[in-house]
Amino acid sequence: MAATLKDATAIVGIGQTAFAKQLPQSEKELACRAILAALDDAGIDPSEVDAFSSYTMEETDEVEVAKAIGAGDVTFFSKIGYGGGGSCATVGHLAAAVATGQASVGVAWRSRKRGSGPRPWKNTAVQLPTPGQWTRPFGLLRPADEIGMLARRYMHEYGATRDHLFNVAMACRNRANENPAAMMYERPLTREMYMTARMISDPLCLFDNCLETDGALACVIVSAERARDCRQKPVYVHSVAQGLPSQHHGMVNYWNDDPLSGPAWTAARHLWKQADFGPQDVDVAQIYDAFTPLIPLSLEGYGFCGRGEGASFTEGGALEIGGRLPINTGGGGLSEAYVHGFNLINEGVKQLRGISTAQVPDAATCLVTAGEGVPTSAILLRA
């Protein structure tokens, strides 16, 4: 019998910095602050950390972090590609490392100054060689343009409307209004604000786009056995998956047979195959929301509804607290902070500890997903 990752490891510590449009500290300092906060939350001394994982887009590397926090000998480190598609895989890689004895205390993190820093799409020089030659010259410049193209087709094919996208934006904003750490705390959204907002890439308006945030988050992963001795209630990593589907093309998934069936579908098949429960048993979900249309696409991909039903799933308050599937209970990338989806991981942990600012009563299972539209990853967490 092969080793299984199922419940073999747990997240025992979470940490974060403040989230703001502009923070004075460097990305490196923010990373260290989030990591030390997560270790303190777990009750584990930084000298015990022997594994790191982050995104390839993370600019503070593990050498700098290990030195700064005073880690001991590090025996495992990895970086995950594809921007926001990497978030959950950082936890997955550390879970695999810990479960197979390559390390004992893993730290995953993301630190980013996207609020005050440059916008990645402005650096067109690096994007112009393949595959940019097929898209950039025509003015498909930004992620919002690339996803807007899929959104328009999705709306055309399934009768989805801007009201459906508003349902997504509203659910995230309502949760942020309950979360003092969120950038959109005490800043309500109305349907009128949404419908009259300026367009960014029609059919996507301002409120269909995630925030621009400075901030950092981290979490700590140890074996299930060790987790029992930690300061906090363990949140078990039940199932993990990455997804790079056949003939996929990152962000512009236009060149396969079925552009509206993205990496979520691939990750989901593996995720559920390894799990003891299915979508119907998920109490709360943290679904990557760089753009509102990613929610209906992900709801379909992860099996919460059928193909083409993701938009209508959002009706009747389904995504709100008390609804069929509360999502992004800290406010998500749309309204809490956009730190490449890492806040969704920590929010999932908060829900299963029972300490979320928008707590789903007795939540025992949580799906966390990474960016749909790029090679992605997902984790199922269990109390």
């Binding site: 030659q133 003015g139 410049l141 193209m149 328009r152 029609d202 996507l204």
Partner: protein, 156 residues
């Protein structure tokens, strides 16, 4: 062949394609006013593929050829970008970006712009005429020493 080539357009500071080794033939054919798509040259396969790459994902043959397309297609989807954008694009915003599904090869989709004529600006087409399913045909505009495909509504 229903394509036309127009020469002499002044570079308008829009981004120019930077071809790689696999994509270079596309741009070389475009310079001759031809829309050609890479196809597997194995006799038992012959499947089209885009974007170009070294080998065939169906039969793994490294032999390829560039097949002439009719240049006709339909709009599969479109967006209308608004600022903030790079300056040259912001100057023409809101413009359209369309995704064209080729009539000859429905799984081959090209990103482009719907314009009123080959050398017209990116925002020349009335947005009200943008429609998924609209029939379009390719034209080429020469800019910065390259021929870049653009799309016009097909004459009925």
């Amino acid at each position: 062949m229903t394509t036309t080539t127009t020469t002499g357009t002044t570079a308008d500071e829009l981004l120019l394609p930077v071809p790689d080794g696999d994509g270079a033939p596309f741009w070389e054919y475009a310079a001759q006013g031809e829309l050609r798509i890479q196809a597997c040259a194995a006799p038992t396969c012959g499947k089209l593929r885009f974007p170009p790459r070294p080998c065939c994902p169906h039969c793994r043959s490294f032999d390829s050829e560039w097949r002439l397309m009719s240049g006709r297609g339909r709009i599969w989807s479109y967006v209308q970008p608004h600022p903030p954008l790079l300056p040259a694009y912001a100057a023409q915003a809101p413009y359209n970006v369309i995704l064209v599904e080729l009539a000859d090869a429905p799984q081959i989709r090209l990103v482009g712009n719907l314009v009123t004529s080959a050398d017209a600006p990116l925002d020349s087409m009335d947005p009200a005429r943008l429609r998924i399913g609209a029939r379009v045909q390719v034209v080429f505009t020469e800019t910065g020493g390259m021929a870049v495909p653009r799309w016009v509504l097909e004459k009925s």
